[in-house]
Symmetry: none
Amino acid sequence: MNITIICIGNELLSGKTINTNATWLGKTINSIGHYVHKQIVIPDDRSIIKDTLSGLMMNKEIDGCFIITGGLGPTHDDVTRKSIFEFFGSKEKFDIKYWEDLNNRFKQNNIEIPLSNKSQALIPDNGDVIDNPIGSARGYKFNKGRITTFSLPGVPSEMKAMTEASIIPWLKQKSEKKIHEMTIRTTGIPESVLMEEISSVLRDNQGCEIGFYPSLFGVDIQLSSKIKKRTAELGENISNILGHNIFGYNKDSMAQIVVKMAMKKNLSFSFAESCTGGLLGHRITEVPGSSDIFKGGAVVYSDDAKISVLGVDKRCIKKHGAVSKETAKIMAEKVRSIFKSDYGVSVTGIAGPGGGTKKKPVGLVYVALSNNKGTKVEKLNFSHDRKKNKLRTGQVVLNLMRLEMMNV
Amino acid sequence: MNITIICIGNELLSGKTINTNATWLGKTINSIGHYVHKQIVIPDDRSIIKDTLSGLMMNKEIDGCFIITGGLGPTHDDVTRKSIFEFFGSKEKFDIKYWEDLNNRFKQNNIEIPLSNKSQALIPDNGDVIDNPIGSARGYKFNKGRITTFSLPGVPSEMKAMTEASIIPWLKQKSEKKIHEMTIRTTGIPESVLMEEISSVLRDNQGCEIGFYPSLFGVDIQLSSKIKKRTAELGENISNILGHNIFGYNKDSMAQIVVKMAMKKNLSFSFAESCTGGLLGHRITEVPGSSDIFKGGAVVYSDDAKISVLGVDKRCIKKHGAVSKETAKIMAEKVRSIFKSDYGVSVTGIAGPGGGTKKKPVGLVYVALSNNKGTKVEKLNFSHDRKKNKLRTGQVVLNLMRLEMMNV
């Protein structure tokens, strides 16, 4: 099974859009034991699309599928449908039922449907239609010689939903051996230190592929092998060494883990956020069901708000500053009491790029966690990048909550 | 000048690494008036690399350059150098001076140089060497027929430095005219409706390329032309028609625009967030300087918090529900008064996937804006996707603030 991905879109060639579709397809296809052999990115140009397809088809050795993404929208620069219909010699049929369906959908949103959407009701006489559960652009499937061609829209959410519903089941039927993968998600430990700590098990490893993927949130360790036991054993050995530096596995997110632990231990929490501005609440509320344990929070961006909304003592801010361990401590205690939650968690810092002093530079952040055992404060030092400082702080705070809950 | 980018690397095909190199090259090459015509991603495989190059060379119409990235490291899976030397029929020479240089560099870092690095001192007898100012893997340049081939390492920082030092000056010599671009950022209007509204100016357009890029946040319209006046004129015509549906241009973000307007008009604001959970505050505080106009907010995720923290009347929630226009209205008014801000803005809704009823389905959201003129409430209907509902709501709320401030 030879798989080629063809991404169509000027925006991909000009670098306006990062080609995350190709990345996602590669990963998803890999996870079911197939490989992508080639990716090609070409412009929204009918003759180039057709030339590319015939060039690929000419390779007689190829036996597999083409997955085309992009160019199925209703606008004039969306030329994929026309190009592939021409390439496969399809006659266009107008799907009146689908057109009525589209009309109704637009009506429900009180919008008159533009005539340009009519093109999305055109279907080929010699190919299949792939339903789009979340958008108006449907996909197509053609069989020619030894190749099956799938054409999907480029909007990532639609492309993903349609791939999962149509292409993955088709590929699974033709599946070669499954790849057994495991992602070990760590935080709070630099890549080089982590590598050193696990160097002995890496040396003894037999036949597992290992990749390290550092980000602002920590380092992911990716294991893969065709033998299930190999992946599992290596995963266990690494887990034993890294211990609590591991916050989760595979698709776990830190926010999910924190919500899950809080639900299990029946602990509620609230946030007093200064420099993170609401990011903590945002991350927690991305997790379905978080309303069971998240009471809410106060975004106290100004000194005034810290005083009047949270009830922080004016003199504390005057004496120690809004960014200080003393203020962080009181913020956590106050928010815990206002929201009547088991944990009160606070953040106060200088996100940058302005606002730093010699004594309190940009990137200085205090975080505090208050519960019935007392209040812990941690001091963090980050960089000059505002957005990164916020994201890093968010991860440290959630991790602090996780570590605290582990001991309950 | 026809430019093809060839990225070599199994990690790109398997989706372990996002191909940001191709994105960066596209953008950088575009900015000096050239276009990338095609991107190809292939595995670290000698015969595939050579076949790809000969396939591309066979196209007699192509007159330009190939930019190859990846596979020049010292390890066994880096096969690019060998493959291109074979393809161009090069004899290998050992660059003893460079090998000594590498030895010294490693010594300075107190590391013994691995013998595998020796391969990086090999140079071709029929091509040029491209210096690497920050790493050990140098690049190569070959001329064959009408094509110049550049081969660079895949590490992004090295690839970028070498492109800027070697490829960009070469391309500039051959430069066609500079491209004049403009991005018009719209929100609150579906792509197909937008197209219909501007169809007349699109028809009259002469020589401007136009692209439409829809996302959860709105539709971006991208104009580009070699003639500055053309881009400017079309931009102006589209702007005249779309008016307040345009929230910004080029790199403007909605949050930036809102902060800028509020600063200019000296208006402060605060948020009472239920289903967005802190996202609004997070987006606003990503903008440097937002502390001047953002007073803070309350994340009132539970009914309790709405009552005790904001002071919403218990009976209002009982009578109309937490997700209702009445509760949204009071939330906005209360948060405005607590934070003593000019605008109080609230959000209450059912983000999903659970929590919906027949009368109040998942995706139902009320947003309210309160100021000295009164309180406006808007009802929104979104989908079942929790994360998307939050993001969409965030954009609608910020846009509501923008529209309100336009009238001040």
